[in-house]
């Protein structure tokens, strides 16, 4: 049976193109066929999770039923009552499968959990977000079928971008007028072609051609201070380039495909290498993830800390929350020392960044600001980020702890 990585090869795109034609024609004439959308969604889910990967398919079905039950159950409950402990319990239950999947390799010698499947974290983000908005009363009209479409929206199921229920619902329930939709087609097609360049040419070149060579050179050059060498530095930059083009390319495919389906899934990258500081970097890199963390972890924790006056100083609140927020993000990537260090590194970077921004605001006259300092800031940020990606890559683990 046919089985594909989403957006993995030309055949996938050919099938995708054909499958989208009726949908595009329908939208051009102001119609959205729920039935057809559901059929192609299921079709692409089977292509991704069927055949040799059928165990993942089963895991997906069980997982989805479980999350739908929880979210729907909570939405029904919330109409009657609003108890804190119940809400926390539901959130814990909702992230339990993901937690098991993330912790299993760390305690079972790298073995993957049976309940895992490609995209489980992204689905968990969507479910938890829906629950939190239900608690806040922001989301009043929970519809089980729309929620299923939202969770199983195939263009973004495996790795995001992470949309929001209310935003998705709005697009899903309406049909863009023809001019808007023509604009979306134009953008969508462009995104997909830029994605080809990013993922199949640049990411391929950096990731498949250059990276293995640098890895080998770096391993051979071990022995110096911390086993560091020029190839390790090269690895750092090449890995960063690979990571960016690979993920930005994938995201462009996902956003482009969504656009063709008349759904304006939010963008995931916005010229991250132009960021003048780390804080700004997180507004431009893997945006839907960092905004998810911002809105559902950072802001909520800050709100809670401040309301209960846990820390006297708002700055302490902000700093502690930065660290917690980024540590959670680190753990989410996986329970390994390098992912957790990566999170801690970014948490600390945000704390330092904030202190510097405050200092700069206070001493506006004495801190120079010109084209040179601007370039320097961008250069420094990019290098700090690349260094954090070296940690993230796990190469240091290989360098230091393998024979």
């Amino acid at each position: 049976m046919l089985s594909f990585e989403p957006y993995g090869n030309p055949t996938y795109f050919a099938i995708l193109g054909v499958a989208l034609i009726p949908l595009v024609i329908g939208l051009l004439y102001g119609r959205r066929s729920r039935l057809y959308e559901t059929i192609i969604s299921i079709f692409f889910l089977v292509l991704t999770f069927g055949g040799p990967k059928w165990t993942q398919g089963v895991a997906l079905i069980v997982y989805i039923s479980y999350e739908v039950l929880l979210t729907w159950g909570y939405a029904v409950y919330r109409k009657q009552k609003n108890s804190g402990p119940i809400f926390y319990l539901m959130v814990i239950l909702a992230i339990l499968p993901l937690t098991i999947v993330k912790v299993t390799p760390a305690v079972e010698n790298g073995q993957n959990s049976l309940i895992g499947f490609l995209g489980i974290s992204y689905l968990t983000f969507r479910a938890v977000q829906t629950m939190m908005e239900t608690r806040d009363g922001t989301l009043k009209n929970f519809q089980i079928m729309t929620f299923l479409q939202f969770m199983l929206f195939f263009p973004t199921i495996s790795s995001g971008p992470i949309d929001r229920y209310r935003r998705f619902e709005h697009d899903y329930r309406s049909v863009p007028d023809r001019d808007t939709y023509l604009g979306m087609i134009q953008k969508g097609v462009r995104y997909i072609f830029v994605g080809f360049l990013y993922k199949f040419i640049l990411a391929y070149y950096f990731g498949q051609i250059l990276l293995p060579r640098l890895l080998q050179m770096g391993m051979q050059a071990r022995g110096g201070f911390l086993d560091l060498s020029w190839p390790v530095l090269g690895y750092m930059y090449v890995y960063s380039a690979y990571l960016f083009f690979d993920f930005a390319g994938y995201s462009l495919f996902a956003v482009g495909t969504s656009y063709l389906m008349g759904i304006a899934t939010p963008m995931n990258f916005k010229q991250p290498w132009r960021s003048p500081n780390i804080k700004d970097f997180w507004n431009r890199w893997h945006i839907t993830l960092s905004f998810w963390f911002r809105d559902f972890i950072y802001m909520r924790l800050v709100f809670w800390f401040m309301k209960h006056r846990v820390f006297k100083n708002p700055r302490t609140t902000a700093n502690v929350t930065y660290i917690i927020n980024m540590l959670v993000m680190g753990f989410w990537h996986g329970v390994t020392w390098y992912y957790i260090t990566y999170g801690l590194f970014h948490g600390c970077a945000l704390v330092i960044n904030d202190a510097w921004l405050r200092y700069k605001k206070k001493h506006r006259e004495s801190v120079p600001h010109n084209r040179f300092t601007q370039w320097f800031a961008i250069f420094l940020t990019a290098n700090l980020v690349c260094f954090s990606f070296l940690i993230f890559s796990g190469f240091l683990n290989q360098l230091w702890f393998t024979n």
């Binding site: 939190m132 804080k279 809105d295 802001m299 800050v302 709100f303 401040m306 708002p314």
Partner: protein
Amino acid sequence: MDVQATVLEILADLTGNDVSGAMDDNLFDSGLLDSMGSVQLLLQLQSELGISVPVSEFERSEWDTPNKIITKVESLV
């Protein structure tokens, strides 16, 4: 109590700037407000005007200039 004056006072307190001369400037782009500042703003609004805005109601694009914030708050009191 005058909403506009209260909001401007809270903003001045939070950002350390008098923003009344730049009512349509984007507070996030200029770095005057961030997530932390947004939460402080919500808490201040709650304690001074008695309006409660849950965090998930806080859509950044609807709260990014002094004028927008005032309009938003006026719709909630």
